[in-house]
């Protein structure tokens, strides 16, 4: 479970920065970029608590 959460978490970080880079390269629309970033944000906060330590 932790490993899955970690993989999803890392994917969500990629989903935060890769779409803007694709948008810069004119390989993605602005709407799609924003949508993927939002989904990635939700995914990050759903998965990170399972494997990131600290903060308490």
């Amino acid at each position: 479970m932790t490993q899955i959460a970690k993989v999803l978490g890392l994917l969500s970080l990629a989903g935060t920065i890769v779409p803007p880079l694709l948008y810069l390269a004119q390989a993605m629309s602005e709407g799609a970029m924003k949508a993927i970033m939002l989904v990635s944000a939700i995914l990050w906060f759903s998965t990170a608590p399972f494997w990131m330590k600290g903060g308490n």
């Binding site: 920065i17 948008y23 944000a41 903060g55």
Partner: protein, 505 residues
């Protein structure tokens, strides 16, 4: 720039008790330690002779050196510094540089040099003293200045914390207000007064919510700050990338230029000074003694580079591009700027709004909490809840006035000018006292609760500095270093005149 707690390794219980303020970066206290208890606050129980104070059990070591078995590894410090310097106020500072007419050269190379100087201060002053003494700022100060003067220092700390937290609430309010469209008029850089009833209501609701969380559920927000750190940094970078895409260029030298015919209010040396001294309360002012006392080696002071070059370099430049775009493509007056919420919304949508809110929230909360403790430290009979409520109320009132956020460059300079010089007293006591023939830790030696030499050495340069700043509109971010140096020199002079004799004399 405000303190927060993030970084994967352990850190994060914000130690309200032991840390000083962190500018736009909140002081975080690593390695455990519950926020919700204040019994061990160093200012809560201070007999007249600090050396006679009982050491605390537990793992915070407020009144004793940190023992060897409680020291922490380097990765903890790299994580903490990287996290705590990526905060909501970063969204203000980058655009403010653009509004003040900074060029790409000023930003790229000025920030490079200024941040390097800040890192060197952390490494060769703060970390050096912290790893030799292993005491908190407050306890170290108490041994030099006496209990009552530390209380005065705490007052300034508490009030400035409230204003800083107010700026963070203001930044969050600009994001919360976006979905409400024109019904909430967003403040511009030139606004110092509330923009209307809807704005006031937004700030009051956010400020009240943050205060309640600070009173009741602090752990949640600390955890949120920790979790959101890597994601937030990437959102900052994303904003910069999207702006470059919309502006049609990746050449920063082409994109960031002062407006034609304008007179820049800040140049290369201004940027150097700002980036060097915006956290001067932490390094020159020695607030980070409380953090770095847990470091195994002074070389861990290099970890501050993570915060400086991710938060105060990449994030600031990315945020600066937001305003560049709005000036070029949307016709915004650069001197009036635009609120961060709408700019981030336009760039990356809902993820950006979420980022602004979380960045403001997770950094304002510990600041309110810490301010509450500072007030509580001044009035030991006051309950922590009352202290936090008081701090939250002051913070909320401050947030209604956009001046603290919109004049952040000036405010941060004033913040450093007031708090940093006291660090010079610690530097003199640690490195120079024997050489110049004054007593080390004079309050311990004499049993004094109020060291007049320190008070005069602190108040005189700070008073003159603030007078010059007000009278001649001199940029406040140039003042921390001269005030700090003057404070050190005056402390030596006044100690020779009125202090106790050194042990070997």
């Amino acid at each position: 720039m405000v303190e927060r707690t993030k970084g994967e390794d352990a850190f994060i219980a914000l130690s309200v008790r032991t840390l000083g303020p962190r500018f736009v970066s909140i002081s975080v206290f690593p390695f455990g330690g519950a926020l919700d208890t204040v019994a061990g606050h160093p200012l809560m129980e201070s007999p007249t002779d600090p050396s006679a104070a009982p050491a605390h059990s537990g793992d915070e070591f407020e009144r004793e050196p940190v023992p060897k078995n409680s020291l922490k590894g380097a990765s903890s410090f790299w994580g903490m510094y990287a996290g705590e310097h990526t905060a909501g106020t970063e969204f203000m500072i980058g655009p403010l540089f653009v509004a003040w007419g900074a060029s790409a050269f000023d930003l790229i190379f000025g920030l490079l040099l200024g941040n390097l100087m800040a890192v060197l201060c952390w490494r060769y002053l703060t970390a050096q003293i912290a790893t030799q003494k292993r005491l908190t700022l407050y306890f170290q100060l108490e041994r030099i200045t006496g209990r009552h003067l530390v209380t005065l220092y705490n007052l300034f700390n508490g009030v400035l914390f409230c204003f800083l937290a107010g700026a963070m609430v203001t930044v969050s309010a600009t994001a919360i207000g976006v979905p409400f469209g024109d019904s909430i008029r967003m403040p511009s850089f030139s606004d110092t007064m509330p923009t209307g009833a809807a704005w006031i209501l937004t700030c009051v609701v956010i400020g009240a919510a943050m205060t309640l969380v600070a009173i009741r559920g602090y752990g949640f927000i600390a955890r949120m700050g920790h979790l959101s750190a890597p994601w937030m940094f990437l959102v900052f970078v994303a904003c910069g990338v999207v702006m470059m895409a919309k502006l049609g260029s990746t050449n920063l030298f082409e994109l960031i230029k002062p407006a034609a015919g304008s007179t820049p209010k800040i140049g290369f040396w201004g940027i150097v000074a700002f980036s060097w001294f915006c956290n001067s309360a932490m390094h020159l002012g020695m607030s980070d003694l409380s953090v770095l006392r847990f470091a195994r080696k002074p070389s861990y002071g290099w970890a501050s580079a993570a915060g400086m070059y991710l938060g105060h370099y990449v994030a600031w430049i990315s945020a600066a591009l937001l305003l560049v775009y709005w000036v070029r493509e949307k016709g915004v007056d650069p001197t009036k700027g635009a609120a961060p919420g709408p700019m981030v919304w336009d760039a990356v949508g809902w993820a950006g709004l979420l980022c602004v809110v979380i960045a403001g929230w997770t950094t304002a909360n510990p600041t309110i909490y810490r301010a509450g403790l500072a007030f509580q430290g001044m009035f030991p009979k006051m309950a922590r809840t009352t202290g936090t409520l008081l701090a939250g109320a002051v913070c909320t009132i401050a947030s209604i006035f956009p001046a603290f956020a919109m004049k952040l460059l000036d405010f941060v300079g004033i913040y450093g000018t007031i708090l940093a010089p006291i660090g010079a007293v610690i530097v003199v006591d640690h490195f120079l006292a024997d050489k110049v023939g004054i007593a080390k830790e004079p309050a311990v030696r004499s049993g004094s609760v109020f060291n007049t030499a320190v008070l005069l050495a602190w108040v005189i340069p700070v008073g003159i500095g603030l007078l010059i700043q007000q009278r001649y509109e001199f940029p406040a971010f140039f003042l921390p270093l001269p005030c700090w140096a003057a404070c050190g020199v005056l402390y030596i002079a006044f100690s020779k005149m009125m202090g106790p004799k050194p042990a070997t004399a």
